[in-house]
């Protein structure tokens, strides 16, 4: 009996092992095949010179993520039109778009995708993702493929934006959009509180005064809102530090740099607004999405935001463009800058890289075409006039600005203060998410604890950030 059971167990184990090995082998074959051939497009082997144009005889299939989902009908229509027009010049390139419902890039899914090396040939990232992508060997060095022939307007792209996509002088991506943070205001509440919505506050003292007046409207209205959870509190603490000329991490990248007079200034101002003025609302521990909902429903007067937050509020939350305006970040010393871009998967063929650069140039980097075809955007009832993307310089900027104004679907004068007073953009600190996690505690401490000990909060966070930075 015992021996029979032992034999059965052994046989079952053997079957399991053999099956496991077989499936592992199959999975390995799948990975290998996918990394060699991408999505299965047949390649004819064009010129190996990266500066040479794509050979029209070479057939290439490209997989690209962030194709608009079916729910975004107008954007999807434009994508399809762009593919058709691109194919007139490049009939040999097949574009296979992949779409994701909801947010195109979710950090947890993105991280898993990089680990599994399952990213499409051309994949969407945020500027801050570059170190993570490179640590996973995820992106190809496209320096040699990007020149004034493959991207004719290269010289007109803000070098700071391109710089965000470089490491050690090598280029790993091409920009789609960029932003600098400003002060988003609810024009209706400004008017109701007797404030001028065309002149948003330019200093933090003015923000405090305006917030008090707006909160005085009552009915649960908050004057100024801030995040304090999900690492977004730390993100905004950083923005506030930058705005008054401070840093979060010093130039060496090894030491915290916020436990000083500037850090205390930020903390004291927030604490006073929350507890002395009662102008920040009772509900705290907010994160991205919460403040947008409040301001869209006329429950919040202002908060720090990127210009495209307005598009989100209008398209997703049913708000109206004319109700919002934007000024530069108060303090105006520096502002947090960021953006998104496409990278090209490491390991794909040179022909695919050429085809990918050609597509990205057509779709995202040509004034009057693709995403910059503002006349079409207006025709499709999509927003025109939000000051984002904002990476053009020289003639391209003049042409693009003129086209936006000519086709504006919203009162662009509401962004005049933001556009007329540009503030120098500053990138996020090293190990941004881990630093933000620590700084979330400072923000939540300030906004949820009336008796918060500011010196202690900053000192504890400083020690913790130093610990985080020491383990790089």
């Amino acid at each position: 009996m015992r021996s029979a059971r032992f034999r059965r167990t052994r046989r079952a184990s053997a079957v399991t092992l053999v099956s496991a090995l077989t499936l592992t082998a199959l999975a390995a074959c799948g990975t290998s095949s996918s990394s060699n051939n991408g999505s299965g497009g047949s390649e004819g082997g064009g010129s190996s010179d990266p500066t040479a144009p794509l050979d029209p005889k070479t057939k290439v299939t490209l997989t690209i993520d962030c194709m608009p989902p079916a729910a975004k009908a107008a954007e999807l229509k434009e994508w399809k039109e762009d593919v058709a027009e691109f194919n007139k010049t490049y009939p040999n390139v097949t574009i296979e778009g992949r779409s994701t419902p909801g947010q195109c890039l979710e950090p947890p899914r993105f991280t898993a995708m990089l680990k599994a090396k399952s990213q499409p040939d051309v994949f969407y990232t945020y500027f801050t993702d570059l170190p993570q992508v490179l640590s996973e060997n995820g992106a190809a060095d496209i320096t040699a493929y990007v020149n004034d022939k493959s991207v004719p307007l290269l010289k007109d792209i803000d070098p700071n934006v391109l710089g965000s996509l470089k490491q050690d002088g090598k280029l790993y991506g091409l920009p789609t959009s960029n932003y600098t943070m400003g002060l988003l205001v609810n024009r209706k509440l400004f008017k109701d509180a007797g404030l001028n919505p065309d002149a948003p506050p330019r200093t933090w003292d003015e923000v405090r005064t305006a917030a008090k007046k707006i909160a005085g409207l009552g009915n649960g209205v908050a004057g100024f809102g801030e995040y304090s959870a999900g690492n977004t509190g730390g993100w905004h603490f950083t923005a506030q530090m930058y705005s008054i000329g401070g840093e979060v991490v010093d130039a060496s990248g090894k030491k915290a740099a916020f436990n000083n007079e500037l850090g205390k200034q930020v903390a004291k101002n927030l604490h006073a607004m929350r507890w002395e003025d009662d102008s920040m609302g009772k509900t705290q521990l907010l994160q991205w999405g919460d403040l947008q909902k409040q301001i869209a429903t006329d429950k919040l007067g202002m908060f720090l935001a990127a210009p495209d937050d307005i598009a989100y509020m209008v398209q997703q939350l049913g708000a109206k463009y004319e109700n919002f305006g934007m000024g530069p970040i108060p303090g105006e010393k520096n502002t947090l800058a960021g953006g998104n871009n496409y990278m090209i998967k490491q390991g794909i063929s040179g022909d695919k890289i050429k085809a990918a650069v050609a597509w990205l140039n057509f779709k995202n980097l040509t004034v009057g075409k693709g995403q910059f075809d503002w006349a079409r955007t207006k025709q499709d009832a999509l927003p025109v006039g939000v000051p984002q993307p904002n990476f053009w310089l020289n003639d391209s900027k003049a042409k693009d600005d003129a086209a936006r104004v000519a086709n504006a679907t919203m009162p662009v004068e509401n962004f005049k203060s933001f556009m007329d007073n540009p503030v120098a953009g500053k990138a996020e600190p090293p190990k941004a998410q881990e630093v933000y996690k620590v700084l979330d505690n400072v923000m939540s401490g300030l906004l949820t604890n009336k008796d918060a000990d500011i010196d202690k909060l900053l000192a504890t966070a400083e020690a913790q950030v130093n610990q985080v930075l020491a383990t790089q």
Binding site: A12, V15, T16, S19, A20, L23, P107, P108, T111, A112, L114, K115, K117, Q132, L134, S135, E136, N137, G220, S228, A229, G230, N231, G281, K282, T283, Q284, L285, Q287, K431, Q433, E434, K437, V438, D440, N441, S444, G445, L447, T448, N449, L457, A463, Q464, Q467, V468, T471
Partner: protein
């Protein structure tokens, strides 16, 4: 077998290996105990363990005792037991995210129902989720409400299997309600109580959804940062799978130790 092999055993083995590896530029290298050192040196490490243990203790006080008391009360009803069982079990049927979001509205310090009630009763308003001293308790209350239905039904089944003669004998001996519970009910349901205790400790030590949705994960001044939330942060926000695996391994070892101690204790009691 295959499903277990691929979706359970293989990930466990892989996690064990990852805990001692670092992956950079697509290459995994052995780093010995470096990931464990990183995790232990994380400023949030001890806080996460303290919070997790606090949640476990509070969840046991509420989540273990409350369903048992509810089961005792339902058991005393001779009519409408089916209706009461349904009522108690209803919250379990709600999607957990919906339940948690419901509590988020209840707890809101501005327009939340609880503070409205406090105002009506002229009691001081509370910062339910925003007070570092109150936030974990608020999370536990939400969690207990969401999960107690299943436990209550299991206790009820155990209570109904106790022979009525035992209570009759106790009554003849002059036992009151509490003595009957202490000398009949608890000894008769000891096995199921112990099993539920073990399962609850294992489940509550892995708490994630409730604090993640109610307080954004970390909570005021990190007061609801739990071990599993820290694992989530390592893996998906910091791209450090090695550290995530190392912390997961520590949690596994602790829970395995707890389970082993439980098995040993129950065997000793049986003997």
């Amino acid at each position: 077998m295959l499903c277990f092999a691929f979706f359970s055993w293989y990930p466990m083995v892989r996690e064990f290996l990852l805990a001692f590896q670092k992956t950079e530029s697509g290459q995994s290298t052995w780093v010995g105990f470096d990931n464990l050192v990183t995790v232990v040196n994380d400023p949030a490490f001890w806080q996460a363990w303290r919070n997790t243990l606090l949640f476990t203790v509070l969840a046991l006080v509420f989540g273990f005792v409350v369903p048992f008391v509810v089961a005792l009360v339902i058991n005393e009803f001779h009519h409408g037991q089916g209706y009461l069982r349904l009522l108690v079990y209803l919250p379990v049927m709600l999607p957990p995210v919906a339940s948690v979001l419901l509590f988020k509205y209840l707890y809101d310090p501005g327009y939340g129902l609880l503070n409205e009630l406090f105002r009506f009763l002229h009691l001081p308003e509370q910062q339910w989720l925003q007070d570092p001293d109150l936030s974990m308790l608020s999370v536990v209350i939400a969690s207990t409400w969401m999960n107690m239905g299943g436990a209550a039904l299991i206790y009820l089944a155990a209570l109904q299997s106790i022979p009525g003669e035992l209570y009759e004998a106790a009554e003849l001996d002059g036992a009151g309600l509490f003595r009957k519970i202490w000398h009949v009910t608890i000894p008769q349901t000891r096995l199921i109580l112990s099993l539920m205790l073990l399962m609850q400790v294992i489940a509550t030590m892995q708490v994630f959804v409730e604090p993640f949705l109610l307080t954004g994960g970390a909570g005021p001044e990190g007061s609801t940062t739990t071990v599993v939330y820290l694992i989530y942060q390592y893996a998906f926000n910091f791209n450090n799978y090695g550290a995530a695996a190392a912390l997961g391994l520590l949690l596994l070892v602790l829970l395995a130790g707890f389970s082993a101690a439980y098995v040993k204790l129950s065997r000793a009691e049986d003997e």
